[in-house]
């Protein structure tokens, strides 16, 4: 019961957070100078009165609070309205973009965790110099090298020179890039945590029991690192959103990130809001899941 109450409380807190994000973005998007009508005026040659007419038509001249009220009321009913830039239903645009990002982000996330855990565990288990250097290299790699930079080099080598992969639409390269980048962000703290855990008393006990190193790693060392790994995976997730954005732009992946970026550039408020809402809910769900996982793995929390 207490478990459920805690989970419910956390979920509520995270939902409030998601709502907060949506409100902030709603306001911030409108603080940004210019609106979609300005954009349409550039190539569309709209006179001043035509522009005014269009603003009224799109409801952009109403007070913010009214706009927000209307938008949230409809959003609550699952209606995100039409894109004011393209005149398409926003729901459909998000629906087509979402799977791309989900697959991309999901696979990158898994790759990041597998790589980071693999390298960190390997380095701690074997104490191998190569693997320990790998921890440092991957770490510096992710700090110092912007992903778009690696992406450009990757395109040049694998698409243009070697013709192995298409430039547009292929997910393999971006997943690799973001996966390695994500791994780099967590591999060092993970490694340090594991090394710390390797000297902990219960791991020493496991040694005293004469268990094999493999069993000690899997059953005694790894569970200890679970809370840290989960906390760190939140970090990866946050980085993932930035990473997917640049990768989607660079590789022309029609995902949420490029949808959002285009919408910001085009002041397409309904699309910005819907995309942010979906992202925020996604973050909430993933956070809730990691929390749940943590509670499930650690018996001390499951009461």
């Amino acid at each position: 019961m207490k478990f459920l109450a805690n989970a419910g409380f956390d979920l509520g807190r995270m939902l409030i957070q998601a709502l907060g994000i949506v409100v902030i973005v709603f306001l911030l998007a409108r603080v940004v100078p210019g609106d979609v009508v300005d954009l349409k005026a550039i190539e569309g040659d709209l006179s001043a009165s035509q522009q005014q007419e269009m603003r009224t038509e799109l409801g952009l001249d109403q007070p913010l609070i009214v706009q927000f009220g209307q938008w949230s009321w409809r959003a609550l009913h699952g209606d995100f309205g039409d894109s004011i830039r393209f005149g398409r239903p926003v729901g459909g645009m998000v629906r087509t973009a979402l799977p791309v990002t989900l697959v991309f982000a999901g696979l990158s996330f898994v790759l990041a965790l597998v790589l980071a855990i693999g390298i960190a565990v390997g380095a701690v288990m074997t104490g191998s110099r190569v693997l320990r250097s790998l921890v440092e290299i991957v770490n510096i790699w992710s700090i110092a090298l912007p992903t778009f930079c690696i992406g450009v080099v990757g395109i040049l080598i694998f698409s243009v020179w070697l013709h192995w992969l298409p430039v547009v639409g292929s997910m393999l390269l971006p997943i690799l890039i973001i996966g390695i980048d994500g791994a780099g962000q967590i591999v060092k703290p993970l490694y340090e945590e594991l090394r710390e855990a390797a000297t902990s008393t219960h791991v020493r006990t496991a040694h005293a029991k004469g268990l094999s190193p493999w069993r000690i790693t899997v059953r005694h060392l790894l569970p200890t690192a679970v809370p840290v790994a989960l906390a760190l995976s939140g970090l990866v997730l946050a980085g993932l959103i930035a990473g997917t954005l640049t990768m989607e732009v660079l590789f022309g992946l029609p995902g949420l990130g490029s949808l959002m970026l285009n919408a910001i550039q085009g002041r397409d408020y309904p699309v910005i809001q819907a995309a942010i809402l979906v992202t925020a809910i996604g973050l909430v769900v993933v956070n809730a899941l990691t929390d749940l996982l943590h509670r499930m793995i650690d018996p001390r929390l499951s009461r």
Binding site: A5, F9, H202, A208
Partner: protein, 526 residues
């Protein structure tokens, strides 16, 4: 035939020798105790036997360790693993930290059984048998529990069951009772003795506690600074120590169990606590508050010491911090130096606060590592508005009072020993000229010889300065020795109160007090 022979064991960290030429012999079926204070190298010696020394420590190539007459295969990891958990088993100090919190008890024991040839069903039966052997109730259910669902004593029993699972010839127990409450300690010691006798194992007991060593060991080795200073039959050493260091250890213990001097005369009333309750805020937003202390009443007069005796979680420290005005009370009232504190009432005025000082258990955490001793001692002076030019003189004076030198003022906390640090803490409290001194487990983290010195210092200072002292502790001997009157706390309530010399297992006392007294291991009292 010897179960264990160690010859010229040298363990070094770089150039520094932490264990320096230790040689030991443990006969089959007998128990050897290694006693010594912190830093004596006794635990390292034990770890060396299982080849589990921490990073950066190395065993000299001239050292030999033989188990059953066979040299330890230190360079063959596989052979070492086969030995560990089977021929050699080990039990450590803190069972909570030693058990894997993510695994069920049964699974953790099964890890050792699985190394053998037993089929799964037979192993399940064996786990239950082992748990029964260490006197755990309802072993079948217990095997499915997680470590955090067990009490400290139960956890240590599980550790023992795990050690026995490999049918060891040699059991190494490193401070097996130190992390446990007094009442549990005796049970575990008794269990260890019984198991050793029943299985006729060779047992190596590492401990700082002479009482534990006396209760378990047939032979004793006394270690100091990496070397063995004295060996021999246990009773001989404890009754007639030869080496001066051993003699000091024994004398320290004797001091504590000796009858305390006469109770001091009561001065005027400093503290009066009436029916006080203290709450802890609940966890989370909807958590219910937890009542740590309930219906506590006490009186402390000038020049007297009130002992507050209890096990961990009994609420004794909480009550003390409420008296010092550090924690609000939920019910009742506290009268401190004429000022009355009530639930929801105003906090203690700053001027009064200075007159009631607290000395904490861990002198390490009580001193800011970034501040030199002079600056740490200057803090209360500066806050009292004493001009800076007078600080040096006052600091030197108080350092002398607590038995330190003026040169200590320039040092940093980490450059001092534990005992010296505690003296600094006392000095710092004294600089506030307190009327009430709350001592919260002030000697628990210290070695026995140092404990006695600190206790004697406190008593001396009290005689000179006349403050009232509230002394919190879990060690019956310590509390009894220093106090004029003792209150026994259990589960947030004061269950018993009496003059210190009346504290004994007499029938007139409360049942809980009797249990505490009965569990006391005091082979030296005789």
């Amino acid at each position: 035939m010897n179960a264990l022979v160690i010859r010229n064991l040298v363990i070094a960290k770089g150039q520094r020798r932490l264990v320096d030429g230790v040689s030991l012999t443990l006969a089959k079926g007998s128990t050897l105790g290694i006693i010594g204070e912190s830093g004596s190298g006794k635990s390292l010696t034990a770890l060396a036997i299982t080849n589990l020394l921490p990073d950066g420590l190395s065993i000299s190539s001239t050292s030999t360790i033989e188990i059953d007459g066979v040299a330890l295969p230190t360079h063959d990891a596989h052979a070492m693993r086969a030995l560990r958990g089977a021929k050699i088993a080990m039990v450590f100090q803190d069972p909570m930290a030693c058990l894997n919190p993510f695994m069920r008890i049964g699974t953790q024991i099964d890890e050792i059984l699985a190394k053998g040839v037993l089929p799964r069903t037979a192993r399940t039966t064996r786990i239950v048998e082992l748990l029964r052997e260490v006197d755990l109730p309802d072993p079948a259910t217990l095997a499915r529990r997680y470590p955090h669902e067990l009490s400290g004593g139960q956890q240590q029993r599980v550790m023992l069951a795990m050690a026995l699972a490999g049918e060891p010839d040699l059991l190494i127990a490193d401070e097996p009772t130190s992390a446990l409450d007094a009442s549990v300690q005796a049970e575990i010691v008794a269990l260890l003795a019984r198991l050793q006798a029943r299985r006729q194992m060779a047992m190596l007991i590492i401990t700082h506690d002479l009482a534990v060593a006396g209760a378990l060991a047939h032979d004793l080795a006394v270690m100091r600074a990496g070397q063995i200073v004295e060996t021999g039959p246990a009773q001989a050493i404890l009754n007639a120590p030869q080496h001066p260091y051993t003699a000091r250890l024994v004398a320290a213990r004797r001091t504590l169990v000796s009858e305390p001097s006469d109770a001091a005369h009561a001065g005027h009333l400093l503290v009066e606590v009436t029916d006080v309750a203290v709450d802890y805020a609940g966890r989370g937003l909807f958590g219910r508050p937890f009542r740590a202390v309930q219906g506590a009443s006490l009186r402390l007069e000038r020049g007297r010491t009130l002992g507050l005796l209890g096990e961990s979680g009994s609420g004794k420290s909480t009550l003390a911090s409420a008296v010092a005005g550090l924690r609000p009370i939920a019910e009742g009232r506290i009268r401190l130096l004429g000022h009355e504190m009530r639930p929801g009432g105003p906090a203690l005025p700053q001027a009064l606060r200075r007159r009631c000082q607290v000395v904490f258990q861990n002198p390490h955490g009580a001193l800011n590592p970034r501040l030199s001793i002079a600056r740490a001692l200057g803090e209360p002076l500066g806050l009292a508005g004493i001009p800076h030019r007078e600080h040096a003189a006052r600091i030197n004076a108080v350092l002398r009072d607590v038995g330190l030198e003026a040169e200590h003022a320039a040092r940093f906390p980490h450059q001092l020993s534990g005992g010296q640090r505690q003296r600094v803490c006392i000095a710092r409290a004294l600089l506030c000229e307190p009327d009430v001194l709350v001592c919260d487990e002030v000697v628990s983290a210290l070695d026995m010889t140092v404990q006695v010195q600190i206790l004697q210092l406190l008593k001396e200072l009290q005689k000179k300065r006349g403050f009232g002292m509230l002394f919190i502790g879990h060690d019956i001997d310590v509390v009894r020795w220093i106090s004029d009157e003792v209150l026994v706390m259990n589960k947030g309530r004061i269950v018993d109160r009496c003059a210190a010399h009346e504290l004994g297992a007499t029938a007139s006392r409360d049942a809980y007090t009797q249990r505490l007294m009965a569990a006391r291991l005091s082979p030296l009292a005789a």
